[in-house]
């Protein structure tokens, strides 16, 4: 079955060597999301510049390979993006995961799209959808400047 498609090389790479996996020294946005079902948690830190672009972004968290990989890849993708395009990417990625439809990602630049599309199989594992979207929920929340922990 698709189990090997679920655990693609890129996902395994990011889950075992997560990028930006720390608390930022200085940040002005942060939010934590929590998956009640499995206990996964993702805390996202963002340094938003005056011109509202994401200067730096990082995460701390506990969770499965999908969740950690998604967090790691997210930080890579959202870095240096404007707030507006970050929201747009977050929105697209969430849709993409739920629908397993790559065309939803068409507005994302190609280098990002390649990374994001490695999560294509997650939709086939309904209980794992939240694992993939958890850090994105935290990021969206952080950008909205909500610091309250969210039970995603």
């Amino acid at each position: 079955m698709s189990i090997k498609k679920l655990y693609q090389d890129l996902i395994l790479d990011h889950s075992t060597n997560p990028r930006n996996n720390k608390e930022l020294d200085s940040f002005n946005r942060n939010a934590e999301a929590f998956n009640q079902l499995c206990g996964d948690r993702s805390h996202v830190f963002i340094k938003l510049s005056d011109s509202t672009s994401i200067e730096e972004i990082s995460f701390k968290g506990e969770g499965c390979a999908i969740c950690i990989a998604s967090s790691s890849i997210m930080t890579e993708v959202l870095k240096q993006k404007s707030e507006k395009s970050a929201f747009s990417i977050i929105h697209s990625f969430t849709k993409f995961i739920e629908k397993a439809d790559e065309t939803v990602l068409s507005s994302v630049i190609e280098s990002d799209r390649t990374k994001l599309s490695s999560f294509i199989s997650v939709a086939k594992f309904p209980m794992r959808v939240k694992c993939a979207t958890l850090p994105w929920i935290a990021a969206e929340s952080a950008l909205h400047n909500k610091t309250k922990k969210i039970n995603a």
């Binding site: 929590f34 009640q36 079902l37 499995c38 309904p126 209980m127 922990k149 039970n151």
Partner: protein, 405 residues
Amino acid sequence: MFKDIKNQFPIFKNKTNGKDLVYLDSANSSQKPQSVIDAVSNFYSNEFANVGRGIYSLAVNASEKYELTRTNLKSFVGASDDYEIVFTKNATESLNLVATCFAEKFIKDGDEIILTELEHHANYVPWHFLRKRKNVVIKFLPIDEQGDLKVEELEKLITPKTKIISVTHMSNVTGSITPLEEIVAIAKKHNIPVSVDGTQGAAHLDLDIKKIDCDFYSFSGHKMYGPTGVGLLAIKYKWLNDFDPFIGGGGMIDYVSKKDIAYARGVWKMEAGTMPTAEVVALNESISFINKLEKKNIIKHELDLTQLALEKLKTNNSVKVLTSPKNQGGVFSFNIDKIHSHDVSTILDQEGIAVRGGHHCCQILHEVLNVNSSVRVSFGVYNDENDIDALCEGIKKCQKIFEKK
């Protein structure tokens, strides 16, 4: 109207005391169609797993089915996004949840609440607990001679201390239907939330919770052709946020440490421990069953039977029907002169007729009506005119036995 519908209910294949079963106790609990029974077996035989916990396929599938019932219940009660459905063990637990959680946050010593003289014990005892615990004053909206609520007196009962109004959708004794929209309109003027005991309403009356606009609506699976062991609470979402949980355990927490606990949000907060899984899953078939027949047909069917029964009983001078409500559902109660309701029930039982004798968990109403007990007749989709004939014959039999002397 529902031709051959008895065939869908296996219970009617058997004889009771050698007679065909004449089941006139649906207000107590309804019989179950084959589709509901099969849904239970099928779930246990092919799909069973605990929900909301495992991430393996069986558990995922079970969780999806469980949530599907929730979704379908939302349409069933006519809920908008403002409402959520919480699963409990019975209507009684739903009503206790409302009273307890509401009181914990919003009722203080000496506050007042309003019930009615029609209430089932399930919508009185939980408030009585508060009377003991918080000196809450309980007021009862009275009924008139016809047995209908004197809604025009509601306004007079309300004071600045009134914190909640809790009323039944329909009396399980007299069939009197409560004018909920009127009551909610009055309550709204005073900013008082309204809790509805919908146990008799859900399967037998028109139900559009958006239109009623109440805050809580409690009901039971087993009275709507569904399995025992599952109750429902339709609740305005905002209360789920305000309330603390009613029962604590697995599945309703967010995070737990030795020092503190963070509760889950939304419906999860209220569903602790292993829920009545097979029951919730099978309940979906009850909803389908009712939807297929269509509520409006069910209402007409049961009302027609009620009218017919009341007309036929009118010709018997010894039969006293308790009240004659203006707006009545498929339930009524009566007494036969000088024969106690339990004797009536026992004698009818010998004829295969199942009716309940007693106070039907409505002792206050019986006190108000000045009778010790009564015989209740309540209809379901499977009843027909033959059942009414059997009842009338049975009543004559009772009279004959007691005349003998």
